[in-house]
């Protein structure tokens, strides 16, 4: 007969096993084959007097992002039939300047690639925006390994106009920070001052903030725009721009489906993934599925900024000039704006809104 102490040991060992708790998500080794040759068109046309951009590309094998197409003809179509041609900026990007949308009017997009013509539906630009209030905070986040990391969070509220027509809104948040390039003293003639380096990118690009006033009587929304790690980007002024896009219902539904597609974690209650269809078609080949969307939005931008004085964490400055330190011992990002940006957009002129008020 087993002795009581042995029984207790057996029970204790089993109970100790119970406290094993592990993550349930693992990366797999294989990369699925992907289909190439699908046309991807994304265009955003707004009421802002700024550059409007359309990206045209084609999907590639091996899961790589689409490749930009530079030989397309891209035109904006007004409801009266007038057209405005975009010019190619390279890399599949097409730009339209000196023209902007009028709320209440409809616009379409036509893209010609070789013999194929792709047309969007005519999309009406909404007339109403909500009133955003943006704020930020520095805090810490506890990771799974019990380490606290400093993070910056952008959040705010939005006051929805009290109108009978449904309102559909989408928000994105982007950061812009100044990165002074190292200009070490030189012998002889002083070297020219490098152009200022401003680096611009999305904060949590995959966070899709949406709101529909259908079925909701909420008029003051609390919003979380995104977070990022606190690093030396905060050594100098750091701006957060929240873009609020007032869109129509069809565009709202498109982004809602994109949100489902990118947030799918394979969970039990997750909506099963499916292809997301936008508003662009190939009339001569209805079977062809065009990826992307042409969206028409009334935009409101709200900006806030912070400086290093407000950062409650230590920020190492690896690019601080040290007399006698050879130039090749500085990190390359101290000297090169593009290298610092790591794929983000760079501005080499001070933006007009870079004002500290």
């Amino acid at each position: 007969m087993r002795k009581p102490i042995q029984r207790l040991l057996l029970i204790a060992s089993l109970i100790s096993l119970m406290v094993i708790g592990k993550s349930c998500v693992d990366a797999l080794d294989f990369i699925g084959e992907t289909v190439s040759g699908q046309v991807v068109i994304y265009g955003l046309f707004t009421d802002l007097d700024s550059t409007h951009i359309v990206n045209v590309g084609i999907t590639r094998n091996f899961g790589l992002n689409q490749e930009g197409l530079d030989n397309a003809l891209v035109v904006l179509v007004e409801e009266n039939g007038q057209v405005h041609t975009f010019f190619s900026a390279g890399g599949g990007e097409y730009r339209l300047e000196n023209f902007f949308g009028t709320p209440g009017k409809s616009y379409g997009l036509r893209v010609s690639i070789g013999n194929e013509v792709y047309e969007s539906e005519m999309e009406r630009m909404p007339e109403i925006n909500a009133e955003d209030n943006v704020d930020f905070r520095f805090t810490t986040q506890l990771l799974a390994d019990r380490i606290n990391i400093p993070i910056f969070e952008a959040f705010g509220t939005s006051l929805i106009p009290n109108i009978s027509e449904p309102v559909f809104l989408r928000w994105t948040a982007e950061e812009t920070y100044f990165w002074p390039l190292l200009n070490p003293p030189s012998v002889g003639f002083p070297s020219p001052e490098p152009d200022p380096c401003f680096i611009q990118g999305m904060i949590e690009a995959n966070r899709i903030n949406l709101f529909s006033s259908v079925n909701s009587q909420t008029r003051t929304l609390e919003l979380f725009f995104g977070s990022r790690n606190v690093d030396d980007s905060f050594l100098y002024p750091f701006f957060v721009t929240v873009n609020q896009y007032s869109i129509n219902q069809r565009t709202f539904e498109y982004w809602d489906r994109i949100r489902i597609a990118i947030s799918n974690q394979g969970g039990i209650f997750d909506t099963p993934p499916a292809p997301v269809i936008g508003n662009i078609r190939n009339p001569s080949n209805p079977e062809e599925r065009v990826l992307g969307i042409f969206e028409v939005a009334k935009v409101r931008k709200t900006r806030v900024f912070t400086t290093s004085n407000e950062v409650p964490f230590f920020l190492p400055d690896r690019c601080r000039f040290v007399v006698g330190k050879p130039i090749n011992e500085y990190p390359i990002e101290c000297l090169d704006c593009e290298r610092r940006a790591q794929g983000k957009r760079t501005l080499r002129r001070r933006p007009y809104w870079w004002v500290f008020q």
Binding site: L10, L14, I15, L17, M18, V19, I20, G21, K22, S23, C24, V25, D26, A27, L28, I31, G32, V35, S36, Q38, V40, Y42, N55, G57, T59, F62, G63, L64, N65, L142, T172, G201, A205, N206, N215, S216, Q217, T218, R219, E222, R257, I258, I260, A261, I262, Q265, G266, G267, I268, F269, D270, T271, P272, P273, A274, P275, V276, L291, Q342, G343
Partner: protein
């Protein structure tokens, strides 16, 4: 390596030899004058020694062979014997067999009392010798088991569980861990008719499907009809599972208290009036939250998972021939994931059953049942937190008669079910929520069907089971029927008008449902069986999740949601070896289903007054081969099952834009071609048992991206055809150790279970995400149970 060795030992043990010893009591029925005959009738009643209740399904063996005769619902049997000396054995699982040598020279009555199986015995017979039913019964695809057998299969949470055992049987699978419902022979989970004492039970699992809602303390046995469903069961198009609960003790009060690391149970039973009226009540409650708090994820730590079930039963014997039973089952679950979302569902089923023996060979059973299922999901988000509720109420009535003779068993009667779907409602989750309340009224329907079935033992070698059911269904008002533009798909964009019906019939369907099955015995130990059946279904679940969830919408057939219909064919070879020590079977099936429901991409199912716009109907095709090798007695018992099966579906809309995968065949979410299970129980003696089960199956299909692209800085996977990829294969090994007599002089037991001993992270699904700033999507697998899951349960009988 050690794991492989253990498996090797198990397999070897599985094939080891057992033994048994029996004692025969000799009885003489002397000739009492008159003419001597060649054959005499022997009849009698078999009752339980403990409760005095008649025992049904006691098998009668004569001279070493099963006669095909079982006691009926009233514990009675009758058969004719050649005059002379015979060895007769009465067997039933969970009971000690009774052995007689009968010298019969006149018609005689032999009443038998069987006592409960005594755990003090050194040898334990896992499977009853009723197992030769698999050779003698005329019906294909039947799985029967009782609670004692269930207890010997290792289970998650240490609870003996019907669904856990069924998933180790051939032809039964599921979408995955954490997914409610069973998929039987290629059928969807909602195509299974699940009953408790023949009353329909809609919500039948706990803890996201890890546990069934049926408490082992009150179970008597279950019968799964996956091949040829008898005609008295209908309303679903794949299978029927009837779970029989037991009556309370008619003589003594007693009960069980059980405390486990996951579940706590209490059961009480006894006579309200000795030998006349008994009751049984059982309560089961989860205590899993402490486990969640140990997981290294804050959201999981903040999550809560609670469930309970309450069962009550009262039985009253007016006489030995007339009894009435009242049963009640209430189950409830609540799951909340951090402060993000949650689900809650409740089920209430009550039934009243009257059993009346009109004459020696004719009995009537009447049943009325009420069901009430409600569920809700909620999102307590900051701005517009909401709660959506829906559900279904139903009333069921069934009257059936059973007439038996020496070679014929005739069942006939009628069944009716009235369905009332509850209005679907949306409410603000709290006072700060700005969500607007909403409500969509739902449909009501009525289904009824007369049925008749005949089991005829034509000869020793040939028996036949034929039956028919004619089902009528009618959707009744009030409801609105949307009219859509002709030659365009049913879609919210194509709505033309709306017809309002205040009352009366809106649409009706009916269908003839023949069922036939036969058994041809090659000899006493082997037989061939075949069956064919047609079944209609007017109630189904609608879900936009990967697998069945407890909060799926129950939806009756409407003008646009046509009834499902299935054609089922099966053929099997059955062979028992060494006087039923081994049972083997090889069965094949082919199944075609019509009007199977598929959801459209991104279907919006909740608060949708025209839900047909989110669905598309199609046809299904399933086929497979099932092998079962089972050892019924000895030191090591258990079974090995292997299934090769496919389950495919295609949509059949004339409109290209709503077709799934262009109308081509594609695998269902639960299509797993290869499934292998090994379940074994080793009797270590002195009331100790070591049990193990090994499960392997092909990974289920998932939808994967066909390409990816970036727009507006967002990395987007573009998903291709539905279910064209598969997750990694599923492998799991479980152990349990059961021992009695922990405390001296107590009738107690302790069960150690280790679920997923290999700590394997079996994938539930695969999803694709961008890895950091890489330019590619990477596949990730989600495991519902990512580690070993031990549990301990201690129980005391009093």
């Amino acid at each position: 390596m050690k794991k492989l060795f253990l498996l090797f030992v198990l397999v070897n043990c599985f094939f080891s030899k057992g033994n048994a010893q029996n004692e025969f009591k000799e009885i003489y029925f002397e000739h009492q004058g008159g003419l001597k005959k060649e054959k005499y009738l022997l009849t009698g009643t078999v009752t339980s020694k403990e409760t005095g209740m008649p025992l049904e399904n006691v098998s009668v063996h004569i001279d070493g062979f099963f006669t095909g005769i079982n006691t009926d619902n009233f514990g009675q049997y009758v058969f004719s014997l050649d005059s002379g000396r015979h060895r007769i054995v009465f067997r039933r699982f969970g009971k000690n067999a009774d052995f007689f040598i009968v010298n019969i020279f006149r018609d005689a009555v032999l009443d038998v009392t069987l006592g409960n199986f005594d755990f003090q015995l050194e040898m334990f017979t896992v499977m009853s010798e009723e197992r030769d039913r698999n050779v003698r019964s005329p019906i294909t695809g039947v799985t029967k088991m009782n609670i004692e057998e269930l207890k010997l299969v290792p289970a998650l949470l240490g609870e003996p569980d019907v669904f856990n055992v069924l998933q180790s049987m051939p032809g039964v699978t599921s979408v995955g861990e954490g997914s409610g419902g069973l998929n039987i022979r290629g059928g969807q989970a909602d195509q299974n008719l699940i009953m408790m004492n023949e009353a329909i039970v809609l919500s039948n699992n706990h803890a996201l499907g890890f546990l069934s809602a049926f408490n082992g303390d009150v179970l008597q046995n279950f019968s799964l009809y996956k091949g040829n469903v008898p005609s008295q069961f209908g309303g679903r198009s794949a299978s029927a599972l009837n779970i029989q609960t037991r009556n309370g003790d008619f003589e003594n009060w007693g009960g069980t208290v059980s405390v486990g690391s996951a579940v706590t149970r209490l059961m009480l039973e006894g006579p309200i009036k000795t030998e006349k009226t008994s009751m049984i009540a059982a309560l089961r409650r989860s205590n899993l939250n402490w486990k969640l708090s140990t997981v290294d994820q804050l959201d999981v730590q903040d999550s809560r998972l609670n469930f309970h079930d309450i069962y009550g039963g009262i039985s009253h014997k007016f006489s030995q021939k007339n009894t009435i039973e009242f049963n009640l089952l209430n189950t409830g679950d609540r799951f909340q994931y951090s402060d993000q979302f949650g689900f809650q569902w409740n089920n209430f089923v009550s039934s009243l059953t009257s059993k009346n023996l009109v004459s020696d060979n004719f009995s009537i059973i009447g049943l009325v049942a009420l069901g009430n299922f409600s569920n809700q999901f909620f999102e307590p988000t900051i701005n517009d937190g909401f709660r959506i509720t829906n559900g279904l109420e139903y009333q069921q009535a069934k009257l059936s008669g059973l007439w038996t003779s020496e070679s014929v068993e005739l069942t006939f009667g009628a069944e009716a079910v009235n369905y009332q779907m509850k209005p679907e409602q949306r409410e603000p989750f709290n006072e700060t929520s700005g969500i607007l309340p909403g409500k969509v009224n739902k449909e009501r329907g009525f289904e009824w069907a007369p049925f008749i079935g005949l089991d005829w033992t034509v000869s020793e070698n040939f028996s036949l089971s034929v039956g028919a059911r004619y089902s009528f269904y009618q959707q009744n008002g009030p409801d609105s029927v949307f009219l859509y533009q002709e030659n365009l798909p049913v879609s919210r964009l194509n709505i033309m008008d709306r017809l309002a019906f205040e009352s009366g019939p809106i649409v009706s369907y009916s269908g003839f449902e023949p069922r036939i099955s036969f058994r041809w015995s090659l000899d006493e130990t082997q037989s061939i069986k075949a069956g064919a059946s047609l079944m209609n279904q007017y109630l189904q679940t609608i879900s936009n999740a990967t697998g069945p969830t407890p909060i799926d919408l129950w939806q009756i057939s409407t003008t646009y949601i046509l009834p499902q219909r299935s054609y089922n064919y099966s053929l099997g070879y059955f062979k028992n070896i060494n006087e039923n020590e081994w049972s083997t079977s090889l069965e094949g099936y082919y199944r075609i289903s019509e009007n199977q429901l598929e959801y459209r991409d991104f279907a919006d199912l909740f608060l949708n007054p025209h839900i047909e716009t989110e669905l598309v109907q199609g046809e299904g095709r399933a086929y497979g081969i099932e092998l079962l090798i089972q050892r019924n007695r000895g030191i090591v018992t258990g079974w090995l099952s292997y299934t090769y099966s496919r389950s495919l579906v295609r949509t059949t809309s004339p409109f290209r834009e709503i077709q799934v995968n262009r109308g081509e065949w594609f695998p269902t979410n639960f299509d797993r071609p290869h499934i292998l299970s090994l379940v074994s129980s080793i009797n270590l003696g002195k009331k100790r048992f070591f049990n193990a089960s090994f499960n392997y199956s092909t990974g289920r299909p998932v939808t994967a991206p066909s390409t990816n692209y970036i727009i507006a800085g967002i990395f987007i996977p573009d998903f291709g055809d539905r279910n064209q990829f598969r997750i990694p294969d599923y492998i799991r090994l479980d152990f349990s150790y059961l021992t009695n007599g922990i405390v001296r002089n107590w009738d107690d037991a302790i069960n150690f279970s280790i679920y997923n001993v290999m700590s394997r992270r079996n994938a539930y699904s695969v999803f694709f995400q961008r890895e950091n700033q890489s330019r590619r999507l990477r596949p990730y697998q989600l495991s519902v149970l990512g580690s070993i899951f031990p549990s301990v349960t201690y129980s005391v009988n009093f």
